[in-house]
């Protein structure tokens, strides 16, 4: 199948792989831009706490701070492994 793709010239071009990767990276960087400085630290410490109970990956945790006029919501998403 790979060979056929290659012969038909349908190999995925490296530039389009680069674009997809960058879109994800940049979206992530931008979501962190307006976050307070303590967020990376908070994320690390939360991960440590969770890992005392469940073994999860580095990227299994996702925190996000949504700020409104009069209140902020800290959203925490943890993907737990299937048991």
């Amino acid at each position: 199948m790979k060979l056929l793709d290659f012969l038909k010239g349908e190999r995925k071009k490296s530039a389009s792989v680069a674009k997809e990767r960058l879109q994800i990276i940049v979206a992530h960087q931008r979501s962190q831009r307006d976050q307070p400085d303590y967020m990376p630290m908070l994320e690390r410490e939360l991960l440590e706490v969770i890992r005392r109970y469940v073994q999860v990956d580095q990227d299994a945790i996702n925190i996000n701070l949504d700020r409104d006029e009069d209140c902020s919501v800290l959203e925490l998403n943890v993907t737990l492994p299937r048991t």
């Binding site: 071009k13 490296s14 530039a15 680069a18 674009k19 960058l22 990276i25 940049v26 831009r33």
Partner: protein, 272 residues
């Protein structure tokens, strides 16, 4: 009132100094009184690219520390009226620059000049942040390559938060994307990010596109900014960039791959 433009990138070696020298030259050739300041303390290069390395007596650090006056440190360009260079120190380290010192220098230049270009060091640390702090506009130099694009996005984040305009809640620093070392043949092959992709990812206005060009090395060998080489693609592309900075609507050039004809393909070797 001078307009302060920082030439910055995050990633090193992408063409900031080449671009700062070429844009400053272009602005001065168009009749604007322009000074280009090297902020790369400890690793100065701008003097070489501008061809004035043997005339450096005092530098930015001397001025900031009160060891020399601005007029003693500024170097008048040999080729273009209205163009001046303020070199960086070769011996001091980065901590020799202070925000107050730079503010004083810029304040003094503000009266006399139309444009002040700041050639930023690489990185996102203090040196790069000082170079951008007082800017009105930024030229974000980006190569068509993943790490350069990612670093440019980091720089955009700093421009939006760590500049005087941001801290004072004034109009934001105007962000301009300058893509350099673009190789249309490789883009055509699908092995280099194309300019639309980069523009879409970074989502800022494109001020120019400079092709990968032999003229750039030739220019830096000679110490003559490439904007003087009007026979070259890169020289013309920088002049177009300057026109756009001055508000003119100039179509993009040098971004399309000129497919070779059958004969030159048969006899002229490969596509690169």
């Amino acid at each position: 009132m001078a307009k302060i433009i920082v030439v910055t990138s995050g990633k090193g070696g992408v063409g900031k100094t080449t671009s700062a020298a070429a844009i400053a030259t272009g602005l001065a050739l168009r009749g604007n009184k322009t000074i280009v300041i090297d902020f790369d303390v400890g690793l100065r290069n701008l003097d070489l690219v501008m061809g004035c390395e043997r005339r450096v007596v005092y530098d930015l650090v001397n001025v900031i520390q009160g060891e020399a006056g601005l007029n003693q440190a500024m170097i008048r360009d040999k080729r273009v009226d209205n163009l001046f260079i303020l070199p960086a120190s070769q011996t001091r380290d980065k901590d020799a620059l202070t925000s107050e010192g730079i503010e004083r220098v810029l304040e003094e230049l503000n009266k006399d000049f139309d444009y002040i270009l700041c050639d930023s060091p690489a990185g996102i640390e203090q040196g790069a942040q000082l170079a951008m702090y007082y800017a009105d506009a930024a030229v974000v130099v980006t190569n068509p390559e993943v790490s350069s694009v990612r670093d440019s996005d980091r720089i955009l984040g700093l421009l939006a938060s760590k500049t005087r305009r941001a801290e004072r809640g004034e109009d934001p620093v105007k962000e301009h994307l300058l893509i350099t070392r673009y190789n249309p043949a490789r883009v055509d092959d699908g092995d280099m990010l194309n300019l639309e992709d980069i523009r879409e990812i970074l989502a800022i206005d494109l001020i120019g596109l400079i092709p990968e060009s032999e003229a750039v090395l030739r220019a830096s060998n000679q110490g003559i900014p490439v904007a003087h080489d009007q026979g070259s693609d890169a020289g013309q592309a920088y002049v177009d960039t300057v026109s756009r900075l001055l508000g003119e609507d100039v179509p993009l050039r040098f971004h399309e791959y000129q497919k070779k004809g059958l004969l030159s393909r048969m006899f002229g070797g490969g596509r690169r």
